[in-house]
């Protein structure tokens, strides 16, 4: 079945068969990244514009490498180089770039919904590379790919997401995607960092990690931004680490084959201790590797529209 979507805006609107299609494609493209000459002509003559209205190293590099390995021509526009500093609006920038006939926009934006505003107005495909606190679909897909590589399945797994759920687009995309794929999700964090009615998204809500760690097959640790302390959400990073930080001591009660994931970048010693980040349960670098494959698959599939 051909892939029909013009845009990848979020996991919420994707069907299971579409996610399966993307994951299969990612698995088959992954091999290219291990070749001596890491390039195929698949997207030759296609133009990909990376429009990043929020700082990002990992995701932008990952999308850029993915596009280049498929032979697309890529251009990066980030906040520091864009005309936004000259007062041009985001929509004007996109309209101007649109006139240069790109094939795909990869958009990262600090405002939730920004890629959605663009998608309806451009003939080019739009891939959401993270919008505000809303969605980060490529991250969820690479998480699914990584879990499946290590566990052989998604269906029936217990996945624990720990940390700042309220401000996390990764949490939202993971919840939509993993739930649809049959996993059971528990979210755990301080009450101030749990968004209202999060249980309506079909997850178990828990305030104490000890209660859910023993059942978890997968633990996804979220980044805690330091400014949360100033927003009266937390008394201190230190206290956060005491109650919610994932360390080797806490993992003693976990299943022996539990895997630990993190979307990066890690605040070592806050949400995740080095003894776990660099320890045997960590699959964090596999996530990064799979990120390139998943983004190759997305770029390829949307250009088939």
């Amino acid at each position: 079945m051909p892939f029909k979507r013009k845009d990848i805006l979020g996991i919420r609107e994707l069907e299971v068969h579409e996610m399966e299609h993307i994951l299969e494609m990612a698995s088959s493209l992954k091999e290219i990244n291990t070749r001596a000459i890491k390039k195929v002509p698949t997207l030759r003559g296609k133009t990909v514009i990376h429009l990043f209205y929020e700082p990002s190293t990992r995701t932008r590099t990952s999308f850029d490498i993915a596009a280049k390995r498929l032979s697309a021509d890529t251009f990066s526009i980030t906040t520091s180089t864009s005309s936004m500093v000259k007062g041009e609006t985001f929509l004007d920038t996109v309209k101007n770039l649109e006139s240069m006939k790109p094939d795909i926009f990869v958009i990262r934006h600090s405002a939730s919904g920004a890629p959605h505003r663009i998608a309806g107005r451009t003939e080019a495909s739009v891939i959401n590379a993270g919008d505000g606190m809303h969605e980060h679909p490529s991250q969820a897909l690479l998480d699914m790919m990584t879990i499946r590589e290590h566990k052989g399945r998604l269906d029936g797994l217990n996945v624990l997401i720990v940390g700042d759920i309220a401000h996390s687009r990764v949490a939202r995309s993971d919840i939509w995607g993993l739930t649809k794929m049959g996993a059971r999700i528990a979210v755990c964090g301080p009450t101030t960092l749990l968004p209202s009615d999060i249980d309506q998204m079909g997850v178990q809500v828990c305030l104490h990690p000890e209660e859910v760690i023993p059942d978890a097959d997968v633990i996804i640790v979220l980044r805690l931004q330091k400014e949360r302390q100033q927003q009266m959400l937390l008394p201190s990073l230190r206290e956060y680490a005491v109650y919610y930080g994932i360390n080797a001591e806490r993992l003693k009660r976990a299943k022996p084959d539990v895997i630990v994931m993190h979307p990066g970048p890690i605040n070592r010693g806050v949400e995740l201790n080095p003894d776990v980040a660099d320890g045997p349960h960590s699959v964090i670098l596999d996530q990064v590797t799979n990120g390139v494959a998943v983004r190759m698959a997305l770029l390829y599939l949307v250009s088939q529209k």
């Binding site: 405002a111 939730s112 920004a114 505003r117 919008d131 606190m133 687009r169 309506q200 998204m201």
Partner: protein, 422 residues
């Protein structure tokens, strides 16, 4: 013919002579010679009601004439069936002085299509720090005071405003929002905000402030009016306060009984408004509040914005929606849903706001030149914001199937707007 203040809802003929209501009778007998001097209009099946009053409108002039002017805003008003609009003081400059109030009234006299009732600022420059000259504002023609658009966070200032406004018998209109609780919020806090990853404004941000203002109004024994009520909890607080005798009145807007936060699923900033669209439970509570009289008035909070403020990322878009040209059919929906009788519905946009603002409007029983609206309650159409008289287009009801429309609006005895084709 419906005149809630007179308890009238009956079939009748009306004779308007030299702009004044000369006679209302079940059947007028008029001689043939006399008839030759008159123009006869067949209004069978239509409603003839006191001219509608919108007690909460932003006309944007002075200062933001690219969004709306007194001329365009009042044209939008008469097109929507309104004969009077109360305009909020958050203009540039702010209407915190007799000079600005007089400017608005003079401009309205010259260019306005309907009555304009200026509302003065509670605090100088809407800064929430010191009282504006409320007596002077009243003398210049202000009908109420408010810092609408911004809450009065300082409880002492609110107490003093309520006490001081009592000297001049002006109602104090509260924009009830605890801006610390709503800080950074973009929409109602709940399931939808969690799904969309948009920062939420809890109902508590509104309710905490209403609770405070009700207590202060009780203390000061001053008339308090709560603007744009949007939550179930707010309705409950106002109902309880009224039962114990607090001199409070309240309004809501059509979008709060018609739309919910689910409308935001596509991130379209046309649905961004403050207070935000709430949940279905809130919508039902607002309807109950309208039915039992807790909510006295329906106002539009007509808030024009241009594409500059609206056609942007949701987060950066301005709050507000226009309402003058879409409100009437939505109010009539309440009648069709048996929530209000025709007379109750008309009262919420005529005699009730007139009473709250202390203006001699809202009834057909007057010796003054008549202000009257003829409504065609059955007319069905698809609302096209492109055809609006307003300068702005930020209407969330564009493209909606509507039933009911103002057929003709008479202001001071003259036809200010008519959809009757000769």
């Amino acid at each position: 013919m419906i005149d809630p203040l007179q308890g009238m809802d009956a079939l009748a003929d009306v004779l308007i002579w030299e702009g004044r209501v000369a006679e209302i009778r079940p059947r007028l007998e008029i001689s043939r010679e006399r008839l030759a001097e008159l123009q006869e209009m067949d209004m069978t099946g239509k409603w003839i009601v006191p001219g509608l009053i919108d007690m909460h409108v932003h006309l944007r002039e002075p200062g933001e004439e690219y969004k709306e002017t007194i001329a365009s805003g009042t044209r939008a008003a008469v097109a929507g069936g309104y004969v009077a609009v109360a305009c909020m003081p958050n203009t540039r400059p702010v209407n915190d002085s007799a000079t600005v109030t007089r400017f608005i009234l003079e401009r309205a006299e010259r260019e306005g299509a309907c009555h304009v009732l200026p509302v003065g600022a509670i605090s100088k420059g809407l800064q929430g720090e010191s009282l504006s000259e409320i007596g002077e504002l009243r003398a210049a023609g202000a009908v109420a005071v408010t810092d609408d658009g911004r809450p009065i966070m300082d409880s002492l200032l609110m107490r003093r405003a309520l006490e001081y406004a009592r000297i001049f018998d002006l109602p104090v209109i509260s924009h009830a929002e605890d801006s610390r609780l709503s800080h950074g919020g973009l929409m109602n806090e709940g399931t939808v905000s969690t799904m969309l990853g948009l920062r939420g404004i809890p109902s508590a941000a509104e309710e905490v402030m209403i609770a405070r203002d009700l207590i202060l109004a009780e203390l000061a024994q001053c008339r308090l009016h709560i603007a744009h009520v949007s939550t179930a909890g707010s309705v409950r607080l106002i109902r309880q306060a009224r039962e114990r005798g607090v001199p409070v009145t309240a309004e809501t807007a059509p979008h709060y009984f018609t739309l919910t936060d689910e409308a935001l699923m596509g991130f379209d900033p046309v649905f961004k408004v403050n207070p935000p669209l709430r949940t279905e439970d809130d919508v039902q509570a607002i309807k109950r509040g309208l039915r039992d009289g807790t909510l006295d008035a329906i106002a539009t909070d007509h808030a024009p914005h241009s594409v500059l403020e609206k056609d942007t990322e949701f987060e950066f878009a301005a709050n507000g929606m226009i309402g003058l040209e879409s409100a009437l059919p939505l109010i009539l929906d309440l009648v069709r849903a048996d929530i209000l009788t025709p007379s109750e519905a008309i009262a919420k946009v005529s005699c009730n706001p007139a009473r709250i603002l202390g203006v001699p409007l809202g009834t057909l029983q007057t010796r003054e030149p008549v202000n009257l609206t003829v409504i065609d309650p059955d007319k069905t159409y698809i609302l096209d914001a492109g055809q609006f008289e307003s300068k702005s287009r930020n209407c969330p009801f564009h493209g909606r199937h509507m039933q009911g429309q103002a057929l003709m609006t008479l202001v001071k005895g003259s036809i200010a707007y008519s959809r009757i084709t000769p």
